[in-house]
């Protein structure tokens, strides 16, 4: 069982950036994307997100399953939204194609445009978010959060969490093996959901209790080193170079411009391509 995050982008242009850049870019891009409902502009944001993702240098073969899972999930979400929604299109003149059988939701040029925009929005967010998974060394998360102004103790907690992962994964496997030797197999299929949940008890209980009880050494070590009594320094030093600043500045400008445009233009309103309206027999 491998629970270690995969550092697939090692050495790429994006992985050479300060890890804080990747986190800040995600935040700024989300602020930008959630304000845009114009399909044309969202297509531009998606292109930007994919370009950004390309600089992560992640081989597609290594993340094919991740992309398939993410696209499947967001497609289901968008389809469900298109079928069930009506709220977002309230007050908009629609050009209907047909009504869904049984539930009666009208599929129109506008709802298709809405779905396409939402799909691209999610895809763009995933493309911007993936590099955080593959281009930041796991050991850099704690210091990155600390240097972003997150409380020191929270940042240390994040750092510790990554450090506990490998040992807990080993204990997890050992516990499963030990229980199997005793005749209990928590992964055995065929039982009902309640029985399967109860069968997790003999796995989760020793794993959790042992992990908590075993933490005493770590707690003592931290206390003996005076943890929490003063400002903490980090072994790893982070420094933003000119490229990092330019990247942050670029996404910051994008977020600010989008916010201003959201109040002054129609980018926060649904835009429907004329050909979709034409398919419904209407005139744009």
């Amino acid at each position: 069982m491998n629970v270690a995050p995969r550092y697939l982008g090692r050495g790429s242009w994006l992985a050479r950036r300060d890890p804080r850049v990747l986190v800040v870019v995600v935040v700024l891009f989300i602020i930008t994307a959630i304000q845009v409902w114009d399909l044309r502009l969202m297509a531009g944001l998606l292109a930007l997100a994919l370009l950004y993702y390309r600089t992560a240098g992640i081989r597609f073969a290594d993340v094919k399953r991740n992309w398939i899972a993410a696209i499947t999930l967001l497609t289901i979400v968008v389809l469900v939204n298109t079928v069930l929604t009506g709220n977002r299109l309230a007050g908009i003149q629609v050009h209907p194609y047909f009504a869904m059988p049984l539930i009666g939701t009208v599929v129109s040029a506008e709802s298709v445009s809405y779905a396409a925009t939402q799909w691209m929005r999610y895809l763009a967010m995933v493309a911007i978010g993936f590099p955080v998974a593959f281009c930041i060394a796991p050991a850099d998360f704690g210091v990155a959060f600390a240097r972003l102004g997150v409380p020191e103790k929270f940042a240390v907690g994040v750092d510790l969490t990554f450090r506990f992962l490998p040992s807990l994964a080993v204990e997890y496997q050992q516990t499963i093996d030990a229980q199997r030797i005793r005749g209990h197999d928590p992964s055995k299929k065929g039982a009902g959901p309640i029985a399967r949940l109860r069968s997790m008890g003999p796995l989760m209980t020793p794993l959790t209790v042992n992990a908590i009880a075993g933490a005493e050494d770590t707690i003592d070590a931290m206390d003996l080193r005076g943890f929490g009594t003063g400002k903490r320094s980090w072994l790893r030093h982070l420094a933003l170079d000119r490229t990092d600043w330019l990247l942050i500045l670029g996404f910051l400008v994008l977020a600010v411009v989008t916010t201003v445009a959201g109040f002054t233009t129609s980018i926060s309103e649904i835009w429907t391509p004329p050909f979709l309206i034409g398919l419904a027999g209407g005139t744009p």
Partner: protein, 189 residues
């Protein structure tokens, strides 16, 4: 005999113990979240046994530990699965809020928290259920983040996940409380 009494002034204290327990809880949640199965008869209700750790850690060690275990643990699970630490940040935060609300149990079910072990076990289940129902309300932030509609979030997001996690909490938290209490006494916590 020690009890799981949590004074209100202690709820927000952050010590080395708080940090380490929170980190262990988050790592456990991340590791065990790889194991899940579909609730029979449904297409999108996934039962995640590891979720019980979120309200359990909140209930046993306080709201800040619960918040951390839910938020960071879910983010770590996403990171391990390759979706990115912050891609689904609002769902991670919803998990964290479940732990936070469960950790506030001494404020709303004090008689369970301070009672004998059988009542503390039931109290843990109640805290998990209350935490799930309240904490996951935050998934409605997807209305602004993703542009989802209230109806679709309610039917495909909130209700399925609350049902699944209420079942998980009601079954597994009492087991964890029964196992942890004697160990806690031995450790003198």
């Amino acid at each position: 005999m020690s009890t799981m009494t949590l004074q209100r002034s202690n709820l927000w204290e952050v010590t080395s113990r708080t940090i380490v327990y929170a980190a262990i809880g988050a790592a456990l949640y991340g590791v065990l979240s790889l194991f899940s199965f579909l609730l029979p008869g449904t297409s999108n209700v996934s039962i995640r046994p590891a979720f019980a750790l979120v309200p359990f850690f909140g209930y046993a060690f306080g709201p800040l530990v619960g918040l951390f275990v839910g938020f960071v643990g879910n983010s770590i699970g996403d990171q391990i699965n390759g979706y990115g630490f912050l891609t689904y940040w609002n769902w991670s935060l919803a998990n964290g809020l479940v732990g936070l609300v469960a950790g506030l149990a001494p404020l709303y079910i004090a008689n369970f928290v301070n009672g004998p072990i059988s009542r503390r076990a039931i109290g843990g289940a109640i805290a998990g259920v209350v935490g799930s129902v309240i904490g996951f309300l935050f998934v409605f932030s997807d209305i602004w983040v993703g542009g989802s509609s209230f109806d679709s979030l309610l039917t495909t997001g909130y209700i399925p996940i609350v049902i699944a996690d209420v079942i998980v909490s009601a079954i597994l938290i009492p087991i964890l409380v029964y196992a942890w209490e004697p160990v806690k006494d031995q450790l003198g916590r």
